[in-house]
Amino acid sequence: MQVNKINKWGEGLLWLLNPILIILAIYIDSSKSNRGIEWLGKLHPLLLHFPIVLGIVIVFYLVFLSHKRLELDLEKLLFTGNAVLATLVALFGLFLSKQDAYDKTIVDLHKWGGVAIALISWALLYIAYLKINWKRVIGIIYLIVLLFFTHKGAQLTHGEEVLAFPTSAPAVAQEINKVDSSLTVYEKAIAPIFEQKCVSCHGTEKVKGKLQLNTPEFIIKGGKEGNLLNSVNNKEALLLQRIHLPNADEKHMPPDGKLQLSLEELNLLNRWIKAGGDFKKKINELAKTDTLALLAMAYKAPKKGDNNNKTNAPDLSTFNTSYCTVNYSYYGSEEIFVDFFQGTFYKTESLKKLEPIKEKVVSLNMQGMPLTKEDISIISTFPNLRKLNLNYTQLTLNELSPIKNLLKLKNISICGIDLNPATLATFIEKSPFSIVHIWNNNATEKEYASLMANNQKTKIIIGDNLNDQILQLTSPIIEQDSSIIVTHLDVSLKHFMKGAIVRYTNDGSDPDSINSPIYTKKILITKSGILKTKAYKQGWHSSDITEKTFYKSEIHPDSIFLVTHPDKKYMGKGAKTLIDYELGEQNFSGGKWLAYKDSNMVFVTSFVEPKQLNKASFNAFIDMGAYIFPIISIKMEGSNDGKIFKYLNEATFPSLEKTNKFRGNKSFSCTFPKDKAYKFYRFTLLNVKKIPKWHPGKGKPAWIFVDELFLD
């Protein structure tokens, strides 16, 4: 094949591969792994030295030999070949980065460096006609990029000190995890902590805040803020201050987002510094029971090479069920919270399932679970439990005693569990608890006062017990929406308090606790009247009275028609609205009301035979805020031919006072003269024509809302 043709293919290949490279470089982290493609990654180390060498040759050519041009085809072959190789190497490199867990920051640098090298080497194809000096500059830049970023790659595989001058490695690194009491506390436990969680920023690589934590000399020297280990001015040692700040604090160490110190590690550092921060003291020189010695012996440093941003904590999803939630306190934490819900589904097996993680559980909520002795014996093997909720677990204090062995358990809730001052005293005696919640329906502070006074170590929370307080019951509820009796109405009375006695009257008198009947079953109401009801219970003040007026519609006109027309928005079902046995609702636009504003309400009822009437009552709605005022007057006229009406009676009613905020239904009635029967009756209802001055609608006519007529 001609060189020319190879070049052409090569150039085409570059146009194909480079976009792939860019796309992959951006998205490689979020892509799913694919073994076939990742295998290609193994070609990265195989190929990578070719473009480096070619690249250096090209730089040499550009910088020193550009006045002596190669044959054009040959030059292009060199450039194309270099670019294709560089691109392939970068691509394979991306695949490789998926496979192994390398230090993320270096990988990222190397990745984008590789992409840059590939792109520059591709661009070199098109610089042939540039001036010589420009080519030299480009050559130099290319060289720098090439060397810097490939060196990053070398750091990944050969370690960060790949090209560093050999120094004596810190001796402690090899000693990690040996259980040997002849080691110093520092070697056994402290140095590994620094090694794992601090030296990546405070070491030889980076020396943030001028602080290095990799050798005792540097640690003693401290950083830019001075001494780390000694307390100055009665303040905690600087190191302790920093590690105990809240995570969100900028000065908290290790910084938020980096692998945090575990509780055990915090404890170790704390005790070591409090004991003087001694680098020479051997573990076996301390007393055998010394906490620092015990902690140091037990400490196992996590293995190196774990990604700083990820936790190695086991996945908890297998422990989670519909009735048991198991979570880390937060992402990266080693502490686990466990909550059980819905006692009906509780089985001891679900507690047993937690065996593998029991050392990490610090909070356990078993409220309302039907626990047995066996459950308690399991719980008492959770050594690091700090908070335990056993409210309403149907146990006795005696059965609970094994949990006293949990030395770290400080906060415990046993509400609803049967106890008395004597049993509680035994329970908290020699216990590790600092706070115990014992609220139940019977315990009172008085009863426990002496126990509380004698037990400063354990705080007993009894809470409020108001059994002796006498409060007023709420009023019973009358359950019947309608207040119009056609034939009869069933009325239920309701009270939500268990054991409350509901009494009632329907003769208008107030119910009392002796004579009024007790409500037991639905009340049948057949005639107009007021139902009054009241609730009673031992230990409570009796309730206020609830009442409801019922109307019996005794007489039903044969027909009814409106003379004046209601407002278009509130026409209800026309004239029939007045005799449909349905009362309007508080929401007055619900279509059950007839409303008038600009004219009086005038309508006529008719009977086939002349009918004698006693009283007409209207149900009207009042809502001052909505400009709905009471009916001012009712005028009634009678006729037998429907043409000439004779005045019968008129009733007038007061308008609203400014202070009257009543909103709701109200009845307005007018009586007929005795011993007169007519076929037709005409009713004229007047509204307020001018709203008084104190109202925002002063001067305008007010509304009347009417929905039902009762005749008897």
Binding site: E11, W15, S31, H437, N441
Partner: protein
């Protein structure tokens, strides 16, 4: 220069296009090798898996929202100067050109109105409370009272929406939805976000479901509104003769069908639907047990007040909130309507306080005595404050107050907040003197208490990452214990 060389180097259109075709092919091939690079979901999963960011101080929230804006000047923020200057004009230097609502902007005068109620100090921090809140005042040592909240909105809807979603315009997820999305449900048999409504007799403002909307989050995170009737969740009981095992079979079959159509269409709402059926199935068992208030001992009924047995009252909702919360519901949101006291304030305020005082205090006490207060955060407050001047006519014992966004009081208790009184307003109760707490700051702080860094907790939607705190908000460390 050699002509041939020049020709070879020239990038003409034909050359460019022919090469470009290869380039586009390359792009396509590249995207094939990374399946799902256009899926946003991968990335978002990462956000949720790393929560909480740090050790949470509170595991659950009960938010007692006082809808309509209670008057801080008549409840917590005692200003004797206003009583002294009763009726005199609000100085322009204090108002400082503050925008007013349409309801009082045209008022000719702005007469200062001192509170009609007696104030007294309670607790070791000497917090002031008006006589209308005796029960809450008795819990003073547990309360973290922030007197210097401020907001941007001056009307109810935008202010409420701002408080609930971090934006005055609707369609963003509510606080509870964010919490549900970020932290998930503790109890898998109950929704992570429940909403309870009640109504006082005072002048009311609406509550609407957009306030507990999931916005752009998956609809499983929407707040579940409990009905205020006797059956908080309707249609939970199976029809007669339907066995639970039969129901299980039916749901499995439906889920299989839904899964099939999800595989075909790929609409994430289908997955949500499957989850919702499952949740409903489990709720059938859990809800009746939890929502039944009748089995509460009498002492508890007395603590919350006898009204707590009547469904739909604020007291009943407080009691229900405790039961939901102790059963692992992350976020219980109450709304109590009726605080919009533009006129007739003394009477309306007294009624509202009567509704909420005893039961709000009881909730704190009850959680405390069960050992749950340290992990539950209670928040009590409205959407803004009320003006120091009177709306409408000022008489000796009647006045009204308009909306005031520049300072108002909320209180919190429990999970990780420091008891005490924080922030100072000026003597007129109009401006903030120290420690201003913006709504965004409040959200940032609440998130912080739940172990969430509000700046790192985002959701990508329509090309942008959204947070509850938008692009603002700082954690108020002063109030964190």
């Amino acid at each position: 220069m050699n002509e041939f060389l020049e020709h070879g180097l020239n990038q003409n259109r034909r050359k460019f296009l022919s090469k470009l075709s290869l380039g586009i092919g390359g792009l396509a091939l590249g995207s094939l090798m990374v399946p799902g690079i256009f899926d946003a979901s991968n990335e978002e999963d990462l956000f949720t898996n790393v929560l909480p960011h740090f050790a949470p101080k509170a595991k659950r929230i009960i938010y007692l929202f006082q809808n309509g804006a209670p008057s801080q000047l008549d409840l917590f923020d005692y200003k004797p100067l206003l009583q002294k200057m009763q009726g005199s004009e609000l100085p322009a230097s204090i108002r400082n050109g503050q925008r007013l609502t349409g309801m009082t902007a045209n008022q000719a005068k702005f007469p200062l109105a001192g509170t009609k109620f007696n104030f007294s100090q309670h607790g070791s921090n000497g917090a002031w409370f008006s006589e209308t809140l005796p029960h809450i005042a008795s819990m003073a040592d547990d309360l973290c009272i922030v007197k210097t909240m401020y907001t941007e909105a001056i009307n109810h809807d935008p202010a409420l929406t701002f408080f609930q979603t971090g934006s005055q315009v609707g369609n963003r997820p509510s606080m509870g939805s964010w919490i549900s999305y970020g932290l998930g449900s503790e109890n898998k048999n109950l929704p992570a976000f429940c909403v309870l409504l009640s109504k006082g007799k005072g002048n009311g403002q609406g509550v609407y479901s957009k306030l507990w909307n999931n916005g752009f989050l998956d609809s499983i995170h929407q707040g579940v509104q409990f009905s205020s009737g006797e059956e908080p969740v309707k249609y939970l009981t199976d029809p007669e003769f339907i066995k639970r095992t039969d129901k299980r079979v039916m749901l499995d079959e439906i889920a299989a069908l839904n899964q099939e159509s999800y595989n075909k269409i790929g609409d994430p709402e289908i997955v949500t639907k499957i989850q919702q059926y499952e949740l409903a199935y489990r709720m059938q068992m859990a809800v009746p047990e939890i929502t039944s208030l009748q089995n509460e001992p009498e002492s508890i009924v007395k603590m919350y007040g006898p009204e707590c047995l009547i469904p739909g009252t604020y007291a009943a909702n407080c009691l229900l909130a405790r039961k939901l919360s102790e059963n692992g519901v992350r976020f219980v949101q109450l709304y109590h309507q009726g605080w919009d006291t533009h006129g007739n304030l003394p009477k309306e305020l007294e009624g509202q306080c009567k509704d909420v005082d005893q039961s709000s205090a009881a909730l704190i006490k009850d959680l405390k005595q069960r050992g749950l207060l340290d992990e539950t955060l209670i928040i009590w407050g409205g959407e803004f404050g009320r003006t120091n001047y009177c709306q409408g006519a000022l008489t000796k014992d009647n006045y009204g107050r308009d909306h005031h966004p520049k300072c108002f009081t909320i209180w919190m208790a429990g999970g990780g907040v420091k008891p005490g009184v924080f922030g100072e307003t000026d003597d007129f109760g109009y401006n903030i003197n120290s420690l201003p707490v913006h709504v965004h700051d409040f959200h940032a702080t609440v998130m912080h208490l739940m172990g969430v860094d509000h700046e790192r907790f985002t959701f990508k939607h329509q090309g942008r990452r959204y947070r509850l705190t938008d692009v603002a908000g700082k954690v108020i460390n002063e109030i964190i214990s």
